[in-house]
């Protein structure tokens, strides 16, 4: 099953794409997805966890482990400081 990942702001620059799709297993969670993304896009390590992480348009508490299901959409949203 596939999960959609949206990258915003600096994470978009670092990943080099604005979105991607990742195949996950039934046992996969938001935490395992994050570590998978850091392997696939090592440049994301620069963010050092300093971003809003959302699942289906809702903020996820850092460290919370939520099982994933087909069609889920997660987003990595670092703050923009420019204006």
């Amino acid at each position: 099953m596939a999960v959609k990942i949206l990258f915003f702001a600096r994470s978009r620059e670092l990943a080099g794409v604005s979105e991607t799709s990742v195949a996950v297993q039934a046992a996969d969670t938001t935490e395992s997805l994050l570590s998978h993304l850091l392997e696939q896009f090592p440049a994301l390590k620069e963010l050092d966890g300093r971003f809003v992480f959302s699942l289906n348009h809702e903020y996820l508490e850092r460290g919370s482990v939520v099982p994933l299901k087909a069609g889920d959409e997660v987003a990595i949203i670092p703050p923009i400081s420019g204006g």
């Binding site: 915003f8 604005s18 300093r50 809003v52 959302s54 809702e58 903020y59 400081s81």
Partner: protein
């Protein structure tokens, strides 16, 4: 006959005094029910009218000017009255602050505070539309105040020309109903959020870079989070793109700043639902807006939690530069000192070496031969302008050019490395020296120095 007359006179004097007191009392009661005069050149002198008792406090001119939003069923005279008596502090008169200030002035917010300490540059005006060609070089506060006065002379404008600092922030923020974060750097964003937590003011926060924007309202009620609730650790300096380096399409901060004006109007007038606990994300490239539901206020937050360590007493001593690793301004990065002086040349030396006639008559190993210029700026900047014959190897993809560099090293033609200001070119020079290349030097100050000191026709951006 004299005595009764004197009595009557005394009585009339007493009545006269009592009437004077009564007139004075009525005058005071009347003036306190009227809105405070908003500017020196009020269009209408205050007087009593039949509509004064209706509670909205709007004058005839107010009613005419704001009529299109006053007749709006979901807004109305009461909301307009609150707006005219309300106040907002806008931190930053730049890409976000420009449309925010203009719309808030046009909508009739009674008092607008502007915070900025920069001067207007030509490269600002594509997005900072409150400034004009004619105000380039002026302080942004003065330039913005002129535009506001031309748009709505009834608005009272207060200028905070020294910028927001930990020492002055709480004192300034306290004087306004709503705060708009239209700043351009991380330390100022944390400072504004903390000051709003301490002063308990709602904060309309906008940000934009490139083709992306972000908008939310912090500290607007008990469950409303602050900036630190979402981002307890500051982003690393290299994660904070600046408009002057990364670029920004002017209309993107224009849209976010306009939405900040909208949220501010809603907060002051009490109309509608504030964008609290919702982060609006604009992706202008894809033509998409989406919002993410945010966390509630964090009980453990150091600024807005149940036992905050950042308070009215401690905020002034908080080191925002240390917390974020950045100075609170949008200026260029500090010059690096990565190389030894003998590994660098000035733009004047580069000019002399490029115009050297000896190159054609001597061996390529002659250090005085015309060198090959390697330009390591990003492609967008290289496409604007570069030195004739310059070879392009963007620093961000420098590893891809290693084979080419090794070939050049074998040829032993002297090489000079340039970038925009002389930092990336030092990094690239250091890398080439690591690769064993011998005759490589860095150009101090990059193409900006070239434009300034050698070729005044070379474009600056």
């Amino acid at each position: 006959m004299g005595v009764p007359f004197d009595d009557e006179l005394e009585q009339l004097r007493a009545e006269n005094e009592a009437l004077k007191v009564e007139v004075q009392r009525l005058r005071q009661a009347q003036s306190s029910s009227l809105p405070e005069p908003r500017s020196q050149n009020d269009l209408e002198t205050p007087s009593t009218h039949s509509w004064d008792g209706l509670g909205h406090g709007l004058s005839r001119d107010d009613i005419a000017r704001y009529s299109r939003q006053i007749i709006l069923p979901s807004f109305g005279a009461q909301a307009q009255g609150k707006l005219c008596r309300g106040s907002v502090l806008i931190v930053g008169a730049g890409g976000l602050g420009s449309p925010a200030a203009l719309y808030l002035a046009a909508a009739g917010v009674g008092r607008i505070g502007l915070v900025d300490k920069d001067t207007v540059e030509l490269s600002n005006i594509h997005r900072q539309i409150i400034h004009r060609e004619g105000t380039v070089g002026q302080h942004k506060c003065d330039s913005a105040a002129q535009s506001i006065a031309g748009l709505n002379s009834r608005v009272q404008v207060e200028l905070h020309r020294d910028g927001l600092t930990p020492e002055n922030a709480v004192g300034i923020v306290t004087r306004y109903d709503v705060v708009v974060d239209a700043s351009d750097n991380a330390p100022t964003r944390y400072l504004i959020s903390d000051a709003c937590c301490v002063a308990r003011k709602p904060l309309v926060s906008g940000a934009a870079i490139g083709l992306e924007g972000q908008l939310t309202v912090y500290c607007a009620g008990d469950d409303s989070p602050c900036y630190r609730c979402l981002f307890p650790e500051a982003p690393l300096p290299q994660s904070c793109s600046r408009c002057s380096d990364a670029g920004v399409l002017g209309v993107v901060p224009g849209i976010i700043g306009t939405l900040q004006a909208l949220e501010t109007i809603k907060l002051i007038s009490g109309v509608g639902q504030p964008l609290s606990r919702k982060l609006l994300l604009q992706d202008a490239w894809a033509g998409r807006f989406q919002s993410v539901k945010l966390r509630a206020r964090s009980a453990g937050c150091v600024a807005c939690g149940d036992a905050p360590s950042i308070t009215a007493e401690t905020l002034a001593d908080y080191d925002y530069a240390a917390f974020t690793g950045q100075a609170p301004n949008d200026g260029p990065p500090r010059p690096l000192r990565l190389l030894n002086p003998e590994q660098r040349i000035t733009v004047q030396q580069l000019r002399d070496r490029l115009s050297s006639e000896q190159g054609s008559s001597t061996a390529s190993t002659d250090p005085s031969a015309p060198p090959l210029v390697i330009d390591v700026r990003p492609p967008e900047q290289f496409a604007i302008c570069h030195l004739p014959g310059a070879e392009h190897m963007p620093w961000a993809r420098f590893a891809r050019f290693e084979q080419r560099l090794l070939d050049l090293a074998a040829g032993d033609r002297p090489i000079v490395v340039m970038c925009r200001r002389g930092n990336d070119s030092q990094r690239a020079t250091a890398r080439m020296l690591e690769l064993g290349m011998q005759s490589v030097v860095d150009v101090v100050g990059g193409v900006e120095a070239w434009a300034r000191d050698v070729d005044p026709d070379f474009p600056l951006y």
